[in-house]
Amino acid sequence: MSNTEVEILLVEDNPSDAEMTIRALKKHNVSNKIVHLHNGAEALDFIFCTKEFSDRSIFTQPKLILLDLKMPKVDGMEVLKKIKSDERTRKIPVVILTSSKEDPDIHTCYSLGANSYIVKPVGFDNFVKAISELGVYWILTNEPPR
């Protein structure tokens, strides 16, 4: 990937979900600068500028991370934990975007420092609505941390 400014990092292993999410964000003019990674390991490499992303600057971080929980290799919980426990990356807003409405997951994520927890609506309409709303909020409405 290039060093161009990333606004939204989407960590999602399901390609359909990812496509729909990106489409929704673009359609509603939330952002164009979206990076899509397929699993937790890639996400961590990106954030911490390691491996194939070593030419990235750690100080240039996305405005929002949309994080799915269930992913192969390193899952979302792990990524969340790593992000939120590192001084350099702690402030990045992380929105958990997942199918699971299980209480333990919600509880654990918030304990680890997730900023928000969204359950992907089943219906497409609702899904698009949710994505666009959260996108608008976090990118346009919310004042990002400096």
Binding site: N14, S16, D17, M20, E102, K120, V122, G123, F127
Partner: protein, 674 residues
């Protein structure tokens, strides 16, 4: 006692009288007072030696009556002197020797006092009587082994002789009055002999001849009355007869005949009276004997009955004691004799129960067992009731030692009851082991179940996550096609796409409902007191958020119930949503919720005036995914009521419904009232 007092009075009086007479005669001879010598003029005077002999006899009598031996000895000596005098006189009479025994006193006086030309001497019968009396006095206490007293016999003879003399004087027997070759017994001598003999007889009233005349038996009582009569009546009648003859009223023969007749009559009367009295007494005796025999018989019957009862009881006790399985009963008295031994354990432990009774515990019980038994046995005799466990002959025994109290609340015997508890102990041990195993099994089972639960959890987790994702994709892409290619699609194409979307949504609902249904089993119920009105209001708010409706909800007074709040919320949510949904097509949809108490249950009802259903399908209502309407009519997955039923069953209640097609339905659920 009174009788005895009288006797001693009589004899004292008589002997005193005798002594007085003797003294006055002596004084008469001493001072030559004729009246004292000869109270009856013309009749014989008492010889002075006779008087002396009477004096000695009297003194002897009194001395012999005392209990001191020296006095008695003196008495006997005096009596011997009297004997000597008498013996000498008789000797002189028999042999013709002149032994002046009766003339040595007042010799001159005697010579001067003559009756019929003869000087005063002791009469032969007087001497004889003194001989007899002397012997009587000497032997006054003597009693033969058969109980006869010779003194009494002697006295009786002397008495008869004196009576004869007295009668002679009364009947004016010529020999007594006229001149004789020997001097007869003086009248007062005869009287004195009578007194003396009677006194000797009365000296020992309960013995010898007097035995039959003393006491309170019929014979004695009769004798006491009849003896005086027997003496006085013939004497008196004899005199009467003679007096008649003297007065020349009748001849001697007639007189004798009259006398005989009178005596006969008197005899007959006496005999009759005697017979009557004896008969009465005998009758009474026989009656008493019969009564006694009856009583005896009754007593014997009672004794027999009692004996039979005792034997019956004994056999009952024996039967009881020997019927209790694996037991032995022993009863000991204070000396540790074995009074009772029964029970099958006795033979098993090596005892012979028949040989045990009557022997000491220490003899019959081996010393090792005895040493265990002895201390508690002693404590039992002190009043303690004990029980203990011990081993005997390889068996575990439970022993109860019980003291038995008599009417005075004292321990008079102790019962020792032993039970063989070997089997029981073994069974107990087995049960204990089984329990332990059971508990272990329960623990294992619980672990297994917990593992299974965990599996289910992860199952529902993956269901919730993995199943939903593709759904979203189906729905989403269908939408994208719809949006991007709407110009290219015709109506049919659009319709087909919408069907795809619709089914995706349906699948999503199914998954949610199924998850909810399965999650029911996992959660533990937390029962709290629920205000139904409050819960329903909350439920309605939630329903109103997700559905718009114009149903009028009527809440009546509702009982509070004790249940899990979240589960009951779900129940009410499902029931209310159903009610609202199925009445949504009516013009004035009304839903009423009420509750009532029925037979220890509280029954809640949710009534709507909606579509209702055909009662013949009512059994399908609560099945999972069962519906009585199509999706065109009313949407729904058919899980809601199944969930309601599951929750209510968990609370121990029931659900059912009643409806009329097109008019509405009432859904009931009951919960136990506690």
């Amino acid at each position: 006692m009174n009788f005895f007092n009288n006797i001693s009075t009589y004899r004292t009086a008589m002997v005193t009288a005798m002594i007085c007479i003797a003294v006055s005669v002596s004084l008469g001879w001493m001072f030559d007072i004729v009246i004292l010598k000869r109270p009856f003029p013309g009749l014989v005077a008492m010889n002075p030696v006779t008087a002396l002999a009477f004096l000695l006899s009297g003194a002897s009598f009194f001395l012999l009556l005392s209990h001191s031996y020296p006095k008695q000895l003196t008495g006997r000596i005096l009596a011997c002197v009297v004997l000597l005098i008498a013996a000498l006189k008789i000797l002189s009479l028999v042999t013709g020797w002149n032994i002046p025994v009766d003339t040595f006193l007042f010799r001159d006086g005697i010579a001067a006092d003559m009756v019929g030309g003869l000087p005063n001497t002791m009469a032969p019968n007087t001497a004889f009587c003194f001989l007899m009396s002397g012997m009587g006095l000497v032997f006054i206490r003597h009693e033969s082994p058969e109980g006869r007293m010779p003194a009494h016999t002697i006295a009786f003879i002397v008495g008869l002789i004196s009576l004869l003399s007295i009668l002679g004087y009364i009947y004016r027997v010529q020999a007594f009055y006229g001149v004789l070759s020997y001097i007869p017994m003086a009248p007062h001598t005869a009287l004195c002999f009578l007194f003396l003999s009677l006194s000797i007889l009365l000296a020992h009233p309960g013995k010898g001849l007097m035995k039959e005349l003393s006491g309170h038996y019929a014979g004695s009582m009769m004798a006491k009355v009849m003896i005086p009569a027997a003496i006085l009546l013939p004497s008196g009648l004899g005199l009467l007869r003679l007096m008649g003859q003297w007065g020349d009223l009748y001849s001697a023969e007639f007189g004798t005949a009259m006398f005989s007749i009178t005596i006969i009559t008197i005899f007959l009367l006496l005999i009759y009276y005697n017979a009557k009295m004896l008969n009465r007494r005998d009758q009474a005796r026989v009656e008493a004997e019969l009564k006694l025999a009856d009583l005896n018989y009754a007593l014997e019957q009672k004794v027999e009955e009692r004996t039979r009862e005792v034997l019956k009881n004994e056999s009952i006790y024996k039967t009881i004691a020997s019927s209790i399985p694996r037991s032995a009963i022993l009863i000991f008295d204070r000396q540790e004799n074995i009074l009772f031994a029964e029970g099958e354990m006795l033979a098993i432990l090596g005892y012979n129960k028949d040989k045990m009774i009557g022997h000491l515990a220490a003899e019959m019980i081996p010393s090792d067992r005895y040493s265990i038994l002895s201390p508690p046995l002693k404590r039992a005799f002190a009043g303690e009731k004990l029980s203990m466990e011990t081993q005997s002959g390889g068996k575990d025994m439970f022993v109860q030692i019980v003291p038995c109290l008599n009417e005075q609340e004292e321990v008079y015997m102790v019962m020792v009851i032993s039970f063989d508890i070997t089997e029981i102990k073994r069974a107990n041990h087995q049960i204990f082991e089984l329990n332990r195993n059971l508990e272990k099994k329960v623990e294992e089972r619980t672990e297994q179940l917990q593992a299974v639960n965990k599996e289910l959890e992860s199952f529902s987790y993956s269901v919730s996550h993995d199943l939903r994702a593709p759904l979203r994709a189906i729905d989403g892409y269908a939408r994208i096609i719809e949006e991007e290619y709407t110009k290219v699609l015709d109506d049919e194409g659009k319709r087909l796409l919408s069907i795809v979307q619709f089914n995706a949504k349906k699948m999503g609902s199914l998954i949610d409902d199924l998850l909810a249904f399965s999650r029911l089993g996992k959660k533990e119920m937390q029962k709290t007191k629920i205000d139904m009105k409050e819960l329903l209001e909350g439920t309605l708010i939630e329903i109103n958020k997700s559905t718009t409706h114009n149903t009028r909800i009527v809440l009546h007074e509702l009982h509070t119930l004790k249940a899990d709040y979240s589960l009951m919320s779900q129940v009410m949510t499902n029931l209310l949503s159903n009610a609202i949904k199925y009445s949504s097509k009516k013009e004035n949809p009304v839903v009423e919720i009420s509750s009532e108490e029925r037979n220890d249950e509280i029954v809640y009802s949710v009534k709507d005036n909606g579509a209702g259903f055909d009662m013949k399908y009512s059994h399908k209502l609560f099945g999972v995914f069962q519906r009585l309407h199509t999706m065109d009519e009313f949407e729904g997955t058919g899980v809601g009521l199944a969930i309601v039923q599951r929750i209510i069953s968990k609370h121990g209640g029931r659900v059912w419904a009643e409806a009329r097609l097109g008019e509405g339905a009432v859904f009931y659920f009951s919960l136990p009232a506690n």
